[in-house]
Amino acid sequence: MSRMELYSPEGLRIDGRRWNELRRFESRINTHPNSCDGSSYVEQGNTKVICMVQGPMEPSSRSQADSAGATIEVNLSVASFSTFERKKRSKSEKRMVEMKATLERTFQQSVMCHLYPRTLISIDIHVLAQDGGLLASMANAVTLALIDAGVAMYDYVSCISVGLHDQTPLLDLNGLEEQDISTLTIGVIGKTEKLALLMLEDKMPLDHLESTLGIAIAATHRIRDLMDDEVRKHGNLRSSKLAKN
């Protein structure tokens, strides 16, 4: 075992998962009830993300006021301690700018922006730890935070990353796997097969794309259920509290 084996002949990955196995997904909603309108915390394996949503609110500058619908602004901050090696990251890094733009465009579509003309929805994302599937975790966290803020949206946007090793799709890559094989991140609206987000930074053979997408869509549906459970749990707790008053 001198060389790292991404996928053993027995069908196990570096961290002992099967090819179609998700990492532990945990989420929490309304984590910061006093400092923002909506907040969430998402853990996908060792990737940990906090998201806070302000708004819809009056935009600070006139240029952000769009009379057709709400403007969505995403602010990304990746903690310097989020990777194994401590490293300072600037917001102007090319990858950051792209992720920010991707998220903005994704949620501009799935949020019912036309209901909130001339307002700004400001989304702050803090990455506490990263171990693969960063964009997916961020999008999942944003979905939960927007729901917590009471912003109207068509359905959940649930995201997952998937890679292709030889001919086997590997679901929900961790950091080590992500370094070695090409990664596709998709975001699906609800339980449909409509994609709200699709990101592929390197190449993937076309004839395997369909099976890869198939397993990824099935995984996003599972993630949606997991997020839905959390929202319901929180909602029932809250409504029982209100009924007591």
Binding site: M57, P117, G150, K191, I215, L226, R232
Partner: protein, 332 residues
């Protein structure tokens, strides 16, 4: 590879322990849960019956109505809407609110009221110093910043909602206007229970404006002009029509920026005490009413040190006292 099955491993029934703890605390929680309509979440099908009209929090595709927010379904006649569990304040005509000026514009002020968009306060809907009722002239426009400037707090009433959702306010009454001699406090607007009176006097020479938007102002009671019930009695007794009082009392002083010089230390500490009580109510997510604030004040007297009211334990104790008190009086 066409078998698209996903394995996911989750914590074994992580939700159980929490629920069990809740059930132990008071057994009626479970009953409430069953009687409550359950929660709907975004994208959930509410009904496929096209007879329902779609209201807020829903959307409509192919004769099917789906929810667009997480909340409870409300059915009024044939209007179907979903009320979100959390969300920003939604202004309604007649709401008594507290706001902060964010911008002085052309014949209008922009006011932050914690809603999705800032409200407007037209120059035509404020009282002029001196109480003269007349059309507002150009000179009034030029000295708008002398009446109210950016950062000033005021209490007002929502006059109308424009069809783009922006609220229009007015302060054409002596109980509205600029706020001073006190402290500002913000709580979630869902905690404010609408009532007949949102401005009232409390024991200890303190008055309170409980804005429906969750913005609260606690201040020293104005001796000449007590806010609530006493006010009505006075005007009834002396038979003073409000117009004359307006002329007498609304001098430049109603737009003064200076606090009274006579705010004693005891008043300051009383304001702090009420501030902490309201914070405790909001921490425990109890609805905030005049009665509960008064009961909280009585309960808080056990704590001599005001700072200790900020402790988690103290906040919970006070709220528990209030709930017990209400049960005893048979409110609830």
């Amino acid at each position: 590879m066409e078998v698209a099955e996903v394995i996911s491993i989750t914590k074994p029934s992580s939700s159980r322990p929490f629920e069990d703890v809740d059930d132990d605390n008071d057994s009626d929680v479970e009953m409430n849960n069953t009687t409550n309509q359950s929660i709907v979440t975004p994208g959930e099908l509410i009904t496929d019956d096209p007879i329902w009209m779609k209201g807020h929090g829903t959307y409509f595709i192919n004769d099917k109505t789906y929810s667009s927010v997480a909340g409870t379904v409300s059915r009024v006649n044939r209007l179907l809407s979903v009320i979100p569990i959390r969300g920003r304040y939604q202004p309604e005509t007649g709401d008594h609110i507290v706001g902060r000026i964010t911008e002085v514009g052309n014949k209008r002020w922009k006011v932050d009221i914690g809603a999705k968009q800032d409200a407007v306060l037209m120059l035509g809907s404020v009282n002029l110093p001196g109480g003269i009722l007349r059309r507002k002239s150009e000179t009034d426009e030029l000295q708008m910043r002398n009446f109210l400037k950016e950062g000033d707090l005021l209490n007002a009433e929502v006059q109308t909602i424009f069809n783009n959702g922006i609220a229009s306010l007015h302060t054409r009454s002596l109980k509205y206007g600029k706020l001073r001699n006190g402290i500002f406090l913000k709580v979630p607007s869902s905690l404010i229970i609408k009532s007949k009176n949102h401005a009232f006097d409390l024991t200890g020479n303190i008055s309170c404006v409980l804005g429906v938007n969750g913005y609260i102002w606690l201040y020293k009671t104005n001796v000449n002009n007590p806010t609530s019930n006493n006010n009505n009695n006075n005007s009834n007794n002396s038979n003073n029509p409000s117009i004359t009082r307006l002329e007498e009392e609304s001098s430049w002083e109603i737009y003064s920026d200076k606090n009274d010089t006579t705010i004693t230390n005891s008043i300051r500490s009383n304001i702090t005490r009420y501030y902490n009580i309201i914070k405790a109510l909001s921490y425990c997510e109890l609805g905030i009413t005049e009665q509960r604030i008064s009961m909280g004040y009585e309960a808080s007297l056990a704590y001599v040190n005001l700072g200790s009211l900020n402790d988690k334990d103290a906040m919970e104790t006070i709220c528990q006292d209030i709930i017990n008190n209400e049960k005893m009086r048979g409110i609830n």
